[in-house]
């Protein structure tokens, strides 16, 4: 593409905007871009790996090996955070299978959830999850979908104090119960919060993302492609010419760039069954990220398609 004064100016503005972000923008050789977890300043790659639906393959040996292949590509590309839940069917044992097959990569940042309406069953479920993963302890434990959140949060805080988990968080998805989530973010000493945010679902921009920034809470973004619906919808649509200014080679990268350009976002966790998509996702933050004007343009363009 020919560099015009207009494109040069836009790229410069984008670069200037991104310079304000708390990230290691220029990835080290072979390493993806990272952002700090506010409560510890530990840096983490800004693209993780979700397991909702994609890793629920049961005992199918072929598909289990495919998942292990996705995990191998993820770690090779410098990825760290893998997120799962007891709600996701066989995803937990499949993650455990992959970790075992890959020789338990030391880079792993394990993010799990507790999901049971019984407060008393929480510790047993967490222990079962840990066995499925085959890890000594989890890096992050989250209360899934705010279920029995008060009791489970107390359990997780106690675990953190005892050193059996490093970070505590809470999750929701698809814009549910943002009022309650906001209340918890204001009143509880959580390290992470997880919710849905993408190029068309932008409710989190109003209160949750600014609040996370203000309170120093790391943000995990789930459903970055609306569970694949957005990438499916855009599959046969040509990317706009201006996407090249951001170095986005696919719709997935462009949509991830939109998410990651928000300064309050710490990690996005797209789920996929393909190793090439994992590499593509991890490369999304390389190169310039969109500035405010470009973010609006991306969102408007995708909504219009």
């Amino acid at each position: 593409m020919r560099t015009t004064r207009r494109t040069f100016l836009r790229a410069s503005l984008a670069a200037a905007a991104v310079a304000q972000l708390p990230i290691s923008l220029h990835a080290e050789q072979g390493q993806p871009v990272r952002r700090p977890i506010p409560s510890s300043r530990e840096e983490i790659p800004i693209v993780g790996l979700g397991t909702w639906i994609t890793f629920n393959v049961g005992n199918d040996p072929v598909l289990r090996d495919e998942c292990a292949g996705v995990m191998a590509a993820f770690f090779e590309a410098g990825g760290r955070m893998i997120d799962s839940s007891p709600m996701y069917g066989s995803s937990q044992p499949v993650v455990g299978y992959g970790l075992q097959k890959l020789g338990r990569p030391s880079a792993l940042f394990s993010a799990e959830k507790v999901w049971t309406s019984s407060a008393a069953s929480g510790p047993a479920q967490i222990e079962q999850s840990r066995r499925f993963w085959g890890v000594p302890k989890f890096d992050l434990l989250q209360v899934h979908n705010l279920l029995t959140w008060k009791a489970h949060l107390q359990t997780l805080f106690q675990m953190k104090a005892a050193g059996t988990v490093r970070y505590v968080g809470i999750t929701t998805s698809e814009g549910r119960r943002h009022d309650l989530l906001e209340q918890i973010m204001r009143n509880e000493p959580i390290d992470f919060v997880q919710f849905s945010y993408n190029v068309v679902d932008r409710e989190a921009e109003a209160r949750l993302l600014p609040l996370a920034k203000e309170r120093g809470i790391a943000v995990i973004v789930n459903r970055p492609f609306r569970q694949g619906a957005l990438t499916q919808r855009l599959k046969n649509k040509p990317q706009p010419e201006w996407a090249a200014e951001l170095g986005a080679s696919s719709w997935a990268q462009l949509m991830l760039k939109f998410i990651l350009s928000h300064p309050a976002v710490t990690v996005a966790i797209p789920a996929t069954t393909r190793a090439d998509h994992v590499r593509e996702n991890l490369l999304a933050a390389a190169g310039p990220l969109p500035d405010t004007a470009m973010r609006e343009r991306i969102s408007a363009h995708v909504k219009a398609l």
Binding site: N56, V57, G58, D60, G89, R176, R177
Partner: protein, 227 residues
């Protein structure tokens, strides 16, 4: 679950269509050639119903009872539950249906001795479950390996049972109908949520069964009382 009204059917779909159909491939491969036996038993049921010999009718319920328990254990409990935790709660319903059919068999509680106006629909559903349902996989490009066969997979087993119950009469019918009806509804919703065209099969079986029962009731009310 909080704010349950905000959830859509997609929120409860934990697996992809690819995983779902590969599950049938693995299940079929693990049980082959048992399919020949279950299919033969289905054809025997069809012949017994058509022949209507009073002495052998309890075998119909007995065969169905064994197959419901087998499908509940082998498919729902051992296989489907690995990708859908809800299957562990559904499997006992298959066991209950099996026990009810066993009771019907022991008590000789089902009879096939009367021609009824909606018999044709019963035979249609039973015939489709035995011979039509296994063809859906190859017809949709998935190959024979993932075919759903009566007595091995839940859909044809439930549909065939619906067909049999349409052809039957007896005091246990109201107890025997709910589980096959609910399974057809659940399976149809699952397939529909996955975007699978064959969701029409369990839905059509239900619609036909409902039409048949309504027709039978109307005809019975309209017929003159026995002298």
């Amino acid at each position: 679950m909080s704010e349950w009204w905000t959830y859509r059917a997609e929120n409860f779909l934990l697996f992809s269509p690819r995983v779902y159909w590969r599950m049938f491939e693995l299940h079929n491969a693990a049980l082959w050639p048992l399919h020949l036996l279950t299919l033969a038993s289905g054809l025997i049921i069809l012949l017994l119903v058509a022949w209507r010999p009073g002495l052998w009718t309890r075998w119909i319920a007995l065969i169905l009872a064994m197959l419901w328990i087998f499908v509940g254990w082998s498919f729902l409990w051992n296989r489907y539950s690995t990708i859908n935790w809800a299957a562990t709660y559904i499997a006992p319903a298959f066991f209950v249906e099996g026990v009810l059919l066993l009771v019907a068999s022991l008590g000789d509680a089902l009879a096939f001795d009367r021609r009824q106006p909606a018999d044709g629909i019963g035979y249609l559903i039973l015939g489709f479950a035995l011979l039509g349902q296994p063809l859906l996989a190859p017809l949709q490009g998935r190959g024979w390996a993932s075919s759903e066969v009566f007595g091995i997979a839940p859909d044809p087993t439930a549909m065939a049972t619906l067909g049999v119950l349409l052809l039957a009469r007896g005091r246990l019918l109201p107890w025997l109908l709910p589980v096959p009806v609910l399974w057809c509804l659940l399976s149809g919703m699952t397939l529909q949520t996955m975007g699978e065209p064959q969701a029409w099969a369990p839905y059509a079986a239900l619609a036909l069964a409902a039409a048949a029962w309504v027709w039978t009731i109307i005809r019975q009310r309209g017929s003159p009382p026995a002298a």
